[in-house]
């Protein structure tokens, strides 16, 4: 630790340096292994483990060091919920919660959603257009808590946007294309 940090850092922070040290591969693997084992029987047949990260909660008393805990996030598509398993660094499960914050879509989910959307002939045709690219967005909330993703298909010409072609809303929980919204091309747009 540089000398300057000793003067700037509070005693409270210094006491927790070992607690907040970067997550070790061993800890990550132990947490994921324990979490998936713990959830066995609770999950539907379609789920995805998003990984693990440190979870440092404020201790009840300021002078106490926080606990080093690891949160493993699992999206259960069939049961339409996201679970968070909290473990200690050795993988001992400390608790399971239904997560209030859905994780952002993973690269694998976006790939899966595109595959689902492009089973549709119109989407498939658009996806093959020259210069088309796909970006994700958050659709309106689903009433049944399904995990949905929006895919925006648009075309770029000469480095500028030529047209937005369609939105495809995909339900990853049901693995279905919910709807397509065809969009008009702006006649005033430069391309």
């Amino acid at each position: 630790m540089p000398a300057t940090s000793k003067a700037a850092m509070s005693d409270s922070t210094r006491r927790m340096l070992s607690v907040i040290a970067p997550l070790k591969k061993r800890e990550e693997q132990a947490a994921i292994k324990s979490a998936t084992a713990h959830l066995a029987g609770m999950l539907s047949d379609r789920y995805r483990v998003f990984g693990a990260e440190l979870r440092i909660e404020k201790p009840a008393r300021p002078r106490a060091a926080p606990e080093r805990a690891i949160a493993v996030v699992v999206v259960d598509y069939g049961n339409r919920r996201t679970l968070e398993v909290i473990t200690d660094p050795n993988g001992k499960v400390l608790g399971v919660d239904e997560r209030a914050i859905p994780p952002a879509w993973s690269r694998e989910e976006i790939t899966e959603a595109r595959a689902i959307a492009e089973r549709d002939s119109l989407v498939a045709r658009v996806a093959k257009l020259k210069g088309v690219f796909v970006s994700e967005f958050g659709p309106e909330p689903a009433r049944d808590n399904a995990r949905r993703i929006g895919l925006r298909y648009a075309v770029v010409r000469k480095g500028r946007l030529g047209a937005e072609l369609l939105h495809a809303i995909v339900d990853l929980s049901a693995a279905t294309l919910v709807r397509i919204e065809q969009l008009s091309v702006n006649p005033n747009r430069r391309s």
């Binding site: 990260e53 859905p102 967005f137 659709p139 309106e140 937005e164």
Partner: protein, 356 residues
């Protein structure tokens, strides 16, 4: 990929940790900000933005009925997550279309700078990272200066929303950036109170007044009374015998409205895994959940004090310069506010002892 780890940086009398969460797509976070060896903030973040557009002819971007995005954490209504970019990613529309600019590792994202004080400015420690959000880029930047102040900033860049079809073709909109601030004055939680300032007149005594916030609630900015807020310790005093505090002033450039309904919300700490902005915007793309779900419940200012968490918002009304300066890209435009110590820091003149 070590997204989610905490990284320590020091400078300008500060020690802080930065983090980019692995799961939430919610941008840069600051943890355990200490100044002169004393805790100021447990955690600070800017996890989401609410962006209503002029309408109705938006070309589906944003879509009706609200014509308003919620970007960042738990994105909704056509909004996008904050995708972490390499700090070298260009400020243009290219990173929207090309995943090669994504940061593969959190340490590819931030730039940390320590700038010495000079004849006009204090020393500073600054942590900055950029995030792709649809065609936009948002820059999250936290500056910590050797006067003990924090300056959270957000910049807007990337490219204009190219989809609206009516006239004007590039629709004006408002970026409402929400910050969650968990100040822990001298680390003595849960013994802080939140107070609100009011300038009533120039007649003293009583021209200026600080009032204790009695319960969790929403506030509007009020330039007529120079309204500001502070989180003040009820236990920790400086050598002069004054309770230590940090003040928040919001230089609002646009007013609250249908979607961004307030300027500050006084809440309490309920954990670091909840109340990070999730579910906000569920009902109607507005921030109403901050008032109806987050800033709900009593405070105990007359007895023990509380572990205060504040939500604050800053705004930028963007009238696109699509026939001029913003034709090819959006030059970064920053909005910011300050969190300033009162009776907390011990400062010396530059060239003296212990200051920048």
């Amino acid at each position: 990929m070590p997204f989610g780890d905490y990284h320590n940086v020091v400078g300008a009398g500060w020690s802080v940790f930065w983090r980019i969460p692995k799961f939430n797509a919610s941008g840069l976070e600051i943890w355990w900000a200490d100044f002169q060896g004393r805790r100021v903030m447990w955690r600070g973040s800017a996890p989401f933005a609410i962006v209503p557009y002029h309408h109705p002819d938006t070309g589906g971007e944003p879509p009706g009925p609200h014509f308003c995005y919620k970007d960042g954490i738990d994105t909704k209504w056509g909004g996008a997550p904050f995708r972490t970019l390499k700090h070298t990613a260009p400020n243009s529309g290219d990173p929207w279309q090309n995943a090669a600019f994504n940061a593969a590792d959190d340490i590819e994202a931030p730039v940390v700078t320590v700038t010495p004080g000079d004849d006009f400015n204090p020393a500073t420690l600054t942590i900055t990272a950029k995030f792709q959000c649809g065609w936009y880029q948002y820059v999250h930047s936290w500056e910590f200066d050797s006067y003990g102040a924090m300056h959270p900033k957000v910049a807007m860049g990337g490219m204009l929303n190219p989809f609206p079809m009516g006239m004007p073709t590039f629709k004006a909109h408002v970026h409402n950036f929400y910050f969650r601030l968990d100040l822990d004055i001298d680390g003595q939680y849960p013994h802080d109170v939140c107070e609100v300032f009011s300038h009533k007149s120039f007649n003293d005594p009583g021209g200026d007044e600080w009032s204790v916030v009695p319960k969790q609630m929403k506030f509007l900015a009020d330039i007529g009374t120079a309204r500001k807020w502070r989180v003040r310790s009820t236990t920790s005093k400086n050598p002069s015998g004054d309770f230590k505090a940090y003040e928040i002033e919001l230089p609002q450039l646009a007013g609250a409205g249908k979607f961004s309904t307030g300027d500050a919300w006084v809440t309490v700490y309920r954990g670091d895994g909840v109340q990070q902005g999730e579910a906000v915007g569920s009902a109607d793309a507005s921030d109403s959940e901050l008032e109806t779900s987050y800033a709900v419940g009593p405070l105990s200012p007359a007895t023990t004090g509380d572990d205060i968490v504040l939500w604050v918002v800053i705004r930028a009304h963007h009238e696109p310069r699509f026939r001029g300066e913003e034709t090819n890209f959006l030059p970064y435009h920053y909005e910011e506010f300050s969190i300033t110590p009162r009776s907390f820091a011990e400062l010396r003149p530059r060239g003296g002892h212990g200051s920048g």
